[in-house]
Subunit: 425 residues, 2 copies
């Protein structure tokens, strides 16, 4: 199927700055407040478009959408639940309306006045009510680095790692949108093996650079999704900052996994970029050896070439780039993750979120966490202002960016920005 | 504060069979379908009372409830969100309406005809839309048994166990209500250490006898709930059957915890028994040694004396009692669990569910899982029909019951019933 909205030659009558993450070929979906409560929206350049107004003016009337109320909901879940075909149709329609050759919206002054706002005038909100949230552990470079640091350099990967996409359930309530201020968590840690644990603010505050996909489908308990159909259940992707308190994690995680070391906050980018918009950026994933079970055999290009960056910005300084990675490094792809998640009959819902796990690349500057970048604190990172970081300081901001780019088009995610506040008293 | 609805001398004009779990002193909350969509309800004896009809007739008008729409919702979440004082007031009002000395409802033939149905005429549904779900691991007998079996009999408890209530996040979407049929999950297992993993139906299908509490409060990210205030955020309890595939669990759980071995289904009892109804059954918990951190120091009686039973019923046989345990055995109580869950600033919502972990007692007949009852398959259990079980067979039903009882009153939970079906092809 050709996706007309992806045509690199399309231009919009809405201004799109050079190198914008949001050209007419992107058309992501999000939730914004225009001062009157949350509304579904899209973004083009630095202009936010209120989809409820477009619905008011009948711009979606010719699409085969049963219930236009999805354009008025305070979260995208019902919109997402429309599924792949409706989403494609809506994106094609928006592309048409924004296209310079189309006068339909452009010449409707009243609609434009009501629907189009500058990004600076709106508040960008959480796009979905997250149902269930899973965090995978699918970067072989990350898992290997962690294995070298904490276990055995000669057997860094655990025996199950190459057989299944290891994952665990995380806390949905604490997933928040870019711009969040997150307090350093308090908790139990055991700084010294010979002494009892202590209680207080975490000293090893870290980020994890991840991407997350959001599911659109609903399945029944007992049903599995095949790896070849899995992508049909994926709505789109966001950048995911999986904040982690390494010292809390170390003391709590045996035997049932990370818990309070993660649940104090995770921060996503606000615009959900559809899988359709990312089609031009499909690439082959790494070779999987040993051969995986049939239920995990994904055919075709299932990885995506998405450049990822992490910056640390001290309170009164400029952002320093500390990591350049890429989503294409993932050993286990999204189709495999979703097939694995449901192979036991686990049901899914629209608005579930599935994070990749830390995305580290092969070189030290591509490691997706401070744990790896500073190699457990042994190699501090120097920022532009000359200050050093082993982990994240109070009042630092963590900025994550992501974009796919070829010689014709750039499809970006914007940012996930997290301000780290001191622990609450 | 005296809770009038708990007065053991109260009698109802609605018939309550001897030894019913649902005397007038219980007044649990649930969701039922009377053939016209899900409605909030309570149960007394074998009679289900539609709260929406009572609201229609104005029986709640004198209570200070801002929005009566909570009595018409398809799940209890908004009702639960009213909080402790409103819940107490509604329960007191219902007690009054059901009391033999009160003619208000009893003599209103039309209201009675519409609101009161036999339990046999209604379908009992999932009481809440579960937000986040945590599974704790708070029985010292269970953790010790597992440690003896899988680790070191001399150091059965891991170093962190007595310092914090170990827990992990679980899958909310697959929590379903009593009466569910759950397919045996498929997945990867590694039956033989020397050979590669295999894929197929789990061979070690187990139950875990647990209780779960549901929170009523909403907190902001960054906020913690003190151990002394924690119970104010608890709406009530249900029986929780945490189905577990032991062979899948063993292969997948290192290092990030149980995942697909749990997410194929968990089955709760349908009537949420309020914390108020359980007040008469408070008991001291076990002594905690070493002393816990101040944020976990719970004063007063925080455990509850609730008898728990598990039965296995073969397809064509009678139920056999295989376990008698008690919720009072918990080492970590609910107040401590919720204080721990939020000490890092993790936010909670009405409708979140927090399960206890397997509740094992001190004697072999009180172990809360087949893993422990059959001691990893080495001591098969003999059922009434002469058949033996190491784990659960296809077409077995697992029945869990729970009730608190003193010489004056019995407050029960009814049942959590799970039918186990063969794996899907």
């Amino acid at each position: 199927m050709t996706i007309k909205a992806n045509d690199p030659s399309l231009k919009s009558w809405i201004e799109v700055p050079t190198d914008s993450d949001f050209p007419i070929q992107n058309i992501p979906f999000g939730i914004v407040s225009f001062g009157e409560g949350p509304k579904p929206a899209t973004r083009i350049g630095n202009t936010v478009v209120d989809l409820s107004i477009l619905a008011d003016f009948g711009f979606f009337d010719e699409l085969d959408i049963k219930d236009l109320s999805v354009f008025y909901e305070p979260v995208l879940n019902d919109f997402i639940a429309l599924g792949k075909q409706a989403r494609i149709a809506i994106r094609e329609r928006l592309s048409e309306l924004f296209c310079e050759s189309c006068s339909e919206l452009k010449t409707n002054e009243e609609a434009c006045k009501l629907a189009l706002k500058s990004i600076d005038e709106v508040e960008v909100l959480m796009p979905v009510a997250v149902g269930d949230y899973t965090d995978f552990y699918s970067s072989i470079e990350h898992a290997t680095n962690v294995g070298i640091m904490f276990r055995d350099p000669d057997n860094a990967l655990l025996p199950n790692w190459r057989h299944l996409p290891v994952g665990y359930h995380g806390r949905s309530s604490s997933i928040v949108v870019s711009g969040a201020s997150i307090h350093r968590p308090k908790g139990q840690t055991k700084p010294n093996d010979e002494e009892p644990p202590v209680f207080g603010p975490s000293r090893l505050f870290d980020f994890e650079l991840e991407m997350a996909f959001i599911t659109s489908g609903q399945t029944s308990l007992g049903e599995s999704i095949s790896v070849d159909k899995a992508e049909d259940h994926i709505f789109g992707l966001v950048i995911f900052n999986d904040l982690s308190a390494r010292d809390i994690q170390k003391w709590e995680y045996v035997p049932l996994g990370p818990f309070l070391s993660k649940s104090f906050g995770s921060v996503i980018s606000p615009w959900v970029v559809t899988l359709e918009a990312l089609e031009p950026f499909r690439v082959e994933g790494p070779n999987q050896e040993p051969e995986v079970f049939p239920y995990l055999k994904a055919h075709g290009k299932r990885n995506f070439d998405i450049n990822l960056q992490v910056f640390i910005q001290p309170e009164k300084g400029e952002p320093s780039l500390v990591c350049r990675s890429n989503f294409k490094y993932m050993y286990w792809n999204m189709a495999q993750q979703l097939a694995h998640q449901t192979v036991n009959g686990c049901n899914i819902n629209p608005g579930d979120m599935y994070a990749s796990g830390t995305i580290s690349g092969p070189t030290p500057d591509s490691y997706g966490s401070m744990l790896e970048l500073s190699w457990r604190g042994t190699k501090p990172i120097t920022l532009q202002d000359g200050s050093q970081r082993k982990f994240i300081n109070d009042n630092d901001a963590i900025i994550m960016k992501g974009y796919a780019q070829n010689d014709k088009v750039r499809i970006g995610f914007g940012e996930s920005v997290t301000k780290v506040l001191p622990a609450n008293p």
